[in-house]
C-alpha cells in the first residue's frame, strides 16, 4: 500500500501564554491517504486552525509525530519547513490573500519564485493551473483586485496548484463567498480531487463539509468520529434544554 500523504500520531500542541499553558491539540491522530478529500469540522476555538497550521508546516507540534508523505517534518528547521511549503503544499485561505495591484498571472506564479522553478517554466505552469480552475483567459493579465470573490478564490486555488503539491490545504475557502459562488469553488476542489489531488478542508459549515469524502470532527483539541460527534451534540442539546428550563423556572 502506498505511503499515506498525512500520518499524524498523538500530536499535542500546547501554547505558552501569560495565563499558563493552553493545550490547543490534545493527542490528535489522523491519517489521510493519497487522493482523499477530507473535511475537518469544528467550531471556533476547537483547535482546527492549530491542526491546519501543523498540517501546513507553518507550526510544529509540541509532542507527537507528523509525517508528510513518509517524511518526518515535526523536527525540521524553519528553513527546511519553508522548502516543504514551497514544494509539497498548497494553501487556500478564507480571505484569498492575493497580492493586490498585481496581475492574476503574477499571483499564480508567486510560489514558483520560492521553489526555484526556472523562469521559462513559470508561465506555462501558471497557465495550466489557471486553466484547470476554469478562469477565463482574458482575466490573466487583470489586476487581482479587479476580480469578483469567486474569481479571486479560483486564482488562489490555481496558486495552490501551481507547484504541483502533494497536499492542498483549504481553510474556510467559501467563508467570504455567497452560497452560489461557494458551490462553484467547492466544485473546483472536487475537480482537483478527481485529478488525483489530496485535499484537506477546514470548515465549520456542514454543507461545505458535505462535499468531502470523509469528515472528521474536532472539539477541544480532540478528533471525533461522526458517531462521537453526534453523541456530543446530543449531550450539548440536552444541557442547553436543562439550562433553559432552569432559567424559566
Amino acid at each position: 500500500m502506498a505511503t499515506p500523504v498525512i500520518e499524524v500520531e498523538n500530536v499535542f500542541r500546547i501554547y505558552e501564554t501569560e495565563a499558563g499553558f493552553t493545550p490547543a491539540l490534545r493527542g490528535v491522530s489522523l491519517t489521510v491517504e493519497r487522493g482523499e478529500f477530507l473535511a475537518i469540522m469544528g467550531p471556533s476555538g476547537s483547535g482546527k486552525s492549530t491542526l491546519m497550521n501543523i498540517l501546513g508546516c507553518l507550526d510544529s507540534p509540541t509532542t507527537g509525530t507528523y509525517r508528510l508523505e513518509g517524511l518526518e517534518v515535526s523536527s525540521l528547521s524553519d528553513d527546511d519547513l519553508a522548502v516543504i511549503r514551497a514544494t509539497r503544499l498548497g494553501f487556500v485561505f478564507q480571505s484569498f490573500n492575493l497580492l493586490p495591484r498585481t496581475s492574476v498571472l503574477r499571483n499564480v506564479m508567486l510560489p514558483l519564485i520560492y521553489s526555484d522553478v526556472p523562469v521559462a517554466e513559470r508561465e506555462p505552469r501558471a497557465f495550466k493551473a489557471l486553466r484547470s480552475v476554469d478562469l477565463p483567459e482574458e482575466l490573466y493579465e487583470h489586476s487581482s483586485n479587479e476580480l469578483s470573490g469567486g474569481q479571486m478564490q479560483r486564482v488562489a486555488i490555481a496558486r495552490a496548484l501551481v507547484n504541483d503539491p502533494s497536499l492542498i490545504l483549504a481553510d474556510e475557502p467559501t467563508g467570504n463567498l455567497d452560497s452560489a459562488t461557494g458551490e462553484m469553488v467547492m466544485k473546483t476542489f472536487r475537480h482537483m480531487q478527481r485529478q488525483g489531488k489530496t485535499i484537506v478542508l477546514i470548515t465549520h459549515g456542514a454543507e461545505v463539509a458535505a462535499w468531502a469524502d470523509r469528515i472528521v470532527y474536532i472539539r477541544d483539541g480532540r478528533l471525533m468520529s461522526a458517531e462521537e460527534e453526534r453523541a456530543f451534540e446530543a449531550r450539548l442539546a440536552e444541557r442547553e434544554a436543562t439550562l433553559q428550563r432552569g432559567a424559566i423556572a
Binding site: 528553513d79 519553508a82 514551497a86 514544494t87 490573500n97 508567486l110 507547484n163
Partner: protein
Amino acid sequence: MRIRDLLYETFTAIRANRVRSLLTILGIVIGIAAVITMTALIDGIKTSLVGQLGLNQSRLVYISCYPGTRQVSMDDLKQLELNVPDYEFVSAVSYSSGKVTNGTKSLDTAQLVGCDENYFTAVGSKLTSGRLLTAGECTGGAMSVVIDQQVVDKLWGSSDTDVVGQSIRINNDSYTVVGVIEASSFNGQMLYLPYPTLTTRVSGVASIDQIVGYAREDADMSTIADKTKTFLVKYYGISKEDQDYSVSVTTMKSIVDELDTTMASFQLLMTTVAGVSLVVGGIGIMNMMLTNVTERIREIGLRKALGARSSDITRQFLLESVTLCIVGGIFGILLGYGGAWALAGLASGVAGIGQIVPVISPTAVGMATGICVVIGMIFGYGPARRAAKLDPVESLRYQ
C-alpha cells in the same frame, strides 16, 4: 529566490509607493549632492589653477625680503645666485602704477612692472604678438613696453587690433609697444617696462620689491625654498623673531599646499553637512521600511506560507532599502554636479581665476554609490530582520 525575482519584487514595491519613496530619499539626495558638489568643485578649481599656472611656473619662486636695515640691492641678488646654485637665474622686480593712455582712452591706475628679460621666462608669459623685452632694452633702460591683452582691450576696445609698434603714454613719457602677452590669471591690466626705465622714469626709487627666481629643471622646490630663506636670513642678519615676516619664499608647491589647507575647511564643512543629512536620510529610510513592514505583515505571512525562507524576506526588504538609497544617490550625484556647475559659474565670475570646470571623478561617483549601499544596509537591516522574524501564522491572521 533568484536575483531577477528579487529585483522584480523590489521595483514593484518601490513603484507602489512612489511618492513616499521619493520624499524619503530626500535626505540621501542632499547628503550625496553635498559630497559631489564639494569634490567636483575642489577638483575643478585645482585643475583650472594647475592648468593656468602652467608647467613653467612650477619652477617659479617668489621671494619677498625686507631686511629692515637697508634696501635689497642688485649685488644681493648676485650673492643669492652664487650661494643657492639651484637657481638658473634670479631677477629683480619693481612695482609701480601710473596713468596710461593711447590718446583716445586711458587707464588711471595701471599696474606697472619693472623687470628684466628673464622675468617672462620665470612667470611663463605667453606672447600673442610682437616680442618680449630684450636684454639690451632692459640694461639700457629703453622706452619699450610689453602690455597684456587686457590693456589692449581697455585702450583700444578690441583685442583684434594690431598694437605692436604703436605708442602709448605712461604719465608724461611716450613708450613704444613691442609686444602683447596673455593676461595673467590672477591680475590683469599689467604693463611691463625695463627695470631701469621704471625706477628712473616712473617711480623714481631704485627699489627691488620682489625677487623672482627660476629653479633649475631638476631642483626640488621645497629644498630651494628652504635654502633661499636660510641664506637670506643669514645674509642680512635677520633675527629669529623677525624672519617669518621679513622673508617670504613662495613656490607654486607652497601655493597649492596653501590652497589645500583652505579647501580643507570648506571640505570639513561640506562633509559635516553631508554626514548629518546622510544620517537623517538613513533614519528616514529606516522609518519608511518599518512602516512598510507593518503594512505588509499579511503579505509577508503569505510569502512565508508559500515557501519563502526568512533569508528570502530579509533579502527582499534589504534590497528595497539599498535600492532606495542608490536611487537617492543617483539623484544626489546629478543634483551635485548641477550645483557644482552653478557654483563654478559664480566662483569664476567673482574670483576672476578663469572658467572653473567641475571635475566628474569616477572615484567620487563610486564613493557616493558605496556610501548609499552602506547606508541602505545599515538602516535597512533592522526592519528587514523584523520582517523575516515574523511568525507566518500570526502574520496571516494580522488585520
